[in-house]
Amino acid sequence: MLFDPSHFAEMLPDIWKAFGQTLLMVGIALSIALVIGLPLGLLLFITSKGLFSTSRSGLLGNRFINIVVGFIVNLIRSIPYIILLVALFPFTKWLVGDTIGPIAASVSLSVASTPFFARLVETSLREIDKGVIEASIAVGATRWMIIKDVLLPEAKSGVIQGVTMTIISLVASSAMAGIIGGGGIGDLAIRFGYYRYDNTIMIATVVILIVIVQVIQLAGDAIAKVVDKR
């Protein structure tokens, strides 16, 4: 039988546990990506070359910072997650004392998603009409005012869409973390669905992943639309 309801019911506690672990991993990694990625994306934008880079215009044109940060971001982003996961084992071990389990997995998930989110933040900042920033410079606004009252509010909707994309990419990556025993839905799918040919669990996990992604995307789009006053 392809899908056995009684087996599914029997496995439900495990599925719930895995679901909780996925939420934990994604939650930790997302928090770190937001806390570090947002300022990083902002830094990438305000140090970039262009209209606001000249020191006179008020924003922080700094080619050196921009190149260094940009290089690190690209470096991390160019490594496939599964390799990053393994490569970070020593660091993970040092940081959380273990390489197995959802907490350990969230270390590499954080490292992978932070530059991803930072680039998304930078992209949403680039979409702001340069004229609006220029008008703020003309009005005599300080750098901090421009960041707080112009850049962040104007990019808000785009940043929320970036959060949505980051969560979805985290859910996908977290499933991969299952391969090395990271726990969560992916772990369940590999241990039961793949190693034991347990179709019920395979189908259940796939459905759960689909539902999670759909719900996040819909919610993200709705929030982005509500906050946007354009």
Partner: protein
């Protein structure tokens, strides 16, 4: 006292291999309390010049003096302070879309570090001035173009600037809205004594509100002076082209063929227009007059009458009639003789 001096300002843009000259050694003196218009086609450098005034663009060369202070020497905090006293409005308004009208204006007040209590009061005052008292908590997307520009004006005036720069401020607006915005600018100029520098490609705008004007071409100012004088006597071909968009004298060739006498262009300036010089002339001389074309433009409420007339009669009589009119203060220009 001169409020603003642009001295020998140049702006060169470095492109990949060649450099492009945006502004080419421009010197202008803007007087305290006047409305100064800079006219030119797109690419003439007028926008670059305007942006050099508040250092949105750093001039490659030259000085911008406001009340004797050279802005091009300022940096950082000093430059920011100087910018508080130079308002600017834009063709596309550039309001913060995620903030309400009130917050957009308050933003400028925050830049001047005005305490929170006084900010609210000042926002109300400014909204009142631009006629948007009921729009304080509305977002810019819910406003019409004209209303957005009013918010832009309120923001620009928030910190009592001495100069207001208008970058094609009415070019995105329909004619009726343009008129109302121009009226508002004029009111601001007269009531608050704020000097206004505006750039535009619409001669109507200049005719409507400017005291003096400059015409730019290829980064250079090719002609400048009081608007009335330039309308009455445009010297450069480009200036004439711009003026002709307002005052055009194309006579259909069918009519020209029937012209027997001498065609003259007659210019009445100011009060002369009402004096009946032509009827006096026709009575005194044996000359027949025939109007071919004519208009009276009111520039700064001063009439400027321009007429094309055919004078028919003895050559001597025509000559005498012309000098008679000239003696009465009318400018007469003899156009090509058509038989």
């Amino acid at each position: 006292m001169y409020v603003l001096e642009i001295q020998n300002v140049s702006k060169v843009y470095k492109a990949k291999k060649k450099s492009i000259i945006g502004v080419d050694h421009v010197s202008l003196t803007i007087r305290d309390g006047e409305i100064f218009g800079i006219v030119g086609y797109s690419g003439a450098g007028k926008s670059s010049l305007l942006r050099c005034i508040n250092l949105l663009e750093q001039p490659t060369d030259g000085q911008i003096l406001i009340d004797g202070q050279d802005l091009t020497k300022l940096k950082g905090e000093k430059l920011r302070q100087a910018r508080l006293k130079i308002g600017m409005i834009f063709q596309h308004f550039y309001l913060i879309s995620q903030k309400t009208v009130g917050e957009n204006i308050e933003f400028a007040l925050k830049a001047a570090k005005l305490p929170k209590e006084s900010r609210n009061e000042r926002v109300e005052e400014l909204l009142n001035m631009v006629g948007l008292t009921d729009k304080k908590d509305v977002f810019p997307s819910q406003l019409s173009g004209g209303q957005k520009q009013r918010v832009g004006i309120a923001r620009a005036l928030a910190n009592n600037p001495s100069v207001l720069l208008c970058d094609e401020a009415t070019s995105a607006l329909d004619p009726t809205t343009t008129t109302s915005i121009l009226r508002l600018l004029k009111k601001i100029n007269r009531e608050l004594g704020i000097t206004i520098i505006l750039i535009t490609h619409e001669m109507d705008v200049v005719k409507e509100i400017c005291d003096r004007m400059a015409i730019m071409q290829n980064g250079k100012v090719i002609e400048e002076g009081p608007v009335y004088d330039i309308f009455a006597n445009p010297e450069k071909p480009l200036t004439q082209e711009f003026i002709s968009s307002i005052v055009s004298f194309d006579i259909p060739s069918a009519i020209l063929q029937n012209v027997q006498g001498q065609i003259v262009k007659i210019l009445f300036k100011g009060d002369i227009a009402g004096e009946g010089v032509i009827s006096d002339m026709l009575q005194q001389f044996k000359v027949q007059g025939n109007f071919l074309h004519g208009t009276i433009e009111y520039i700064q409420e001063k009439p400027l009458g321009i007429f094309l007339m055919e004078l028919d009669g003895q050559v001597e009589d025509i000559k005498r009639s012309i000098s008679y009119m000239e003696n009465r203060g009318v400018t007469v220009e003899v156009l090509d003789h058509v038989i």
